[in-house]
């Protein structure tokens, strides 16, 4: 509905006066007239700018083999220096977006320059070194800039370098086959979460990577509880001869990172929230159980995994609610609903069970929706009950779990 019609309705209902309606309309119109509001102009200009850049790159690429190596190298190095020095000169002009754009291009250009040197001198192998060097050169740019995206680039380069390194030392397959990769991913996520208080501007970068790594791993862990025992047994037998430390080092990293994240959580937050600890504990049990599965029959294991996942989701929802994070409450509720739906998909065998299962699932979801609505009494952020934006809708309870 258009704003004008809404204002007419609100005026007619006596919610606002005609003067207030006129003032709101004036304010909105003046906002729409500001340069920042002209998103269509910016969008067209951006597409045009990108087309010009892509065209220049295509022209260079078309004549790439005719350009002498020395010119390519000198051009690449000059571009790198020009980007860094231009960013220095531009400084915080405006709100610093020009500098940060130049620094972002510098981060990409540094990686391209590494590739160029490798191409000109026909160098092979060790891609982790290239990514590590790119991460090292991207870090000062992130430190000098003020946009979180610059930090994302550094983290991506660093994690990609770690991935290539693990591949080079032939560990990556083993990590996946023994499921220890889950511990490594969560350990990195927890380490980032623990480091947040000291990262200043880049705390949000650490937060989203932490949530991503921990969240995706927990989804995978929840799924692993449903896999039949014989499907994972062969990999654990394959590495029977490998030493304990060589096999389980990611678990040690996970334990240390969990302790560090827990210590920071206790130290930094005055309020002791039982729901956060419950969510963390249940998620940890689910993770450990997914990597070291109990030798149970398939059905009890599936049900135990289901209970753990649901328990963690409920605890997470309450923890997020207690912190005033509506996004966290919604994520927790959706995770719970998805897990209930998946259980019945797992248990389906024939049409009768399918029908009964769907009815039970439907009733449970309706019940959940009702419970979620009732929950607003306990958790004010649910349903927009005015709990406010305690931690700015940062679902960092996920990081701590």
């Amino acid at each position: 509905m258009r704003l004008g019609r809404k204002l007419e309705r609100w005026t007619a209902a006596g919610l606002i006066t005609a003067d207030q309606a006129a003032a709101i309309l004036r304010a909105e119109e003046s906002e729409a007239g500001r340069p920042g509001g002209k998103w269509v102009v910016w969008a067209l200009a951006s597409v045009g700018g990108l087309a010009v850049v892509a065209g220049v790159i295509s022209l260079v690429a078309a004549n790439w083999d005719d350009i002498p190596d020395k010119v390519k190298l000198a051009g690449g190095l000059t571009a790198l220096l020009a980007l860094a020095l231009s960013a220095r000169e531009v400084g915080g002009r405006g709100d610093g977006w020009i500098r940060d754009l130049l620094l972002l291009v510098h981060q990409g250009m540094a990686l391209a320059m590494i590739g160029l040197v490798a191409q000109v001198y026909h160098l092979s192998g060790h891609p982790w070194r290239a990514m590590a060097l790119a991460a090292a050169l991207a870090a000062p740019a992130a430190a000098a800039g003020r946009r979180a995206l610059l930090g994302d680039v550094v983290l991506y380069f660093a994690l990609q370098s770690l991935w290539f390194f693990l591949d080079e030392v032939d560990v990556i397959n083993r990590l996946f086959e023994t499921r220890q990769m889950a511990f490594l991913a969560v350990a990195i996520g927890l380490a980032l979460a623990a480091a947040r208080p000291w990262l200043g501007l880049y705390a949000r970068v650490a937060q989203r990577w932490s949530i991503g790594l921990v969240g995706l791993t927990l989804v995978a862990a929840a799924a692993l509880w449903s896999i039949k025992e014989r499907e994972w047994g062969s990999s654990s037998e394959r590495y029977a001869g490998v030493g304990r430390l060589a096999l389980h080092w990611p678990f040690a990293l996970f334990a240390m990172a969990a302790l560090a994240a827990g210590a920071v959580q206790v130290w930094k937050r005055r309020r002791r929230d039982p729901a956060t600890y419950a969510a963390a504990l249940l998620a940890a049990v689910m993770l450990v159980g997914a990597v070291y599965p109990p030798h149970w029959e398939d059905l009890p294991r599936k049900i135990a995994g289901f209970a753990l996942c649901c328990g963690a989701a409920v605890a997470f929802t309450f923890a997020a609610g207690a912190r005033g994070s509506r996004a966290g409450v919604n994520v927790g509720t959706l995770a719970l609903a998805a897990r209930i739906l998946i259980l019945f998909l797992e248990l389906f065998d024939d049409l009768t069970q399918t029908g009964v299962g769907l009815i039970i699932t439907g009733l449970l979801l309706v019940g959940m929706a009702y419970g979620w609505w009732r929950l607003r009494v306990l958790v004010p952020v649910v349903g927009g009950g005015g709990g406010g934006r305690g931690e700015g809708d940062k679902p960092d309870a996920g990081a701590s779990s």
């Binding site: 083999d65 190298l73 190095l77 790198l80 220096l81 220095r88 040197v117 026909h122 050169l137 032939d170």
Partner: protein, 177 residues
Amino acid sequence: MKSAALPARRLLLGLAIADLVVFGAWIGREEVARRAGVEVRLPVEGFDPRDLLSGHYARFQLAALGEAYKVQNQEEHPPRDRPATSSYCLEVRAGGLAHVARRRLPGDACPLWISAKPDKYARIDFGVDRFYVDERRRDEVARISAGDGTYLVARIFDGGRIHPVDLVLNGKSVRGR
């Protein structure tokens, strides 16, 4: 505001200097290796005209690799563990091509030698397995098969490292030297 801007300016100056030092040193080292090293012709076998995942690169395997394995298998006491590095003496035979003659032992005075590192499967790895090819020559390169006239021209420098200079396929230089 001024105090926050100052470290950023210093950092960015440092970044520009780091760019110059890192890439300058890297390029300088490769250039020195190509100018100061000893030129050899290393025969190539096992040839793939294009590395589709990396662009226009010809992938190849040095004949020295098979020769090094042969030397290793003939040894009475081959090393059981993965050696950190191993080096092999070269001898130039007919056609000016360099072949592995023997393992280079400590104190061995062979004038020409190359070094290898074990890869993740404990295989010998000379660190050279691809060469950038001009896109317009891709059809020509695709018809080449390994043979006597197919070899890598390289410079040997800094501890037996191989620095590729040119790839010759059936007597024709890829770089047009």
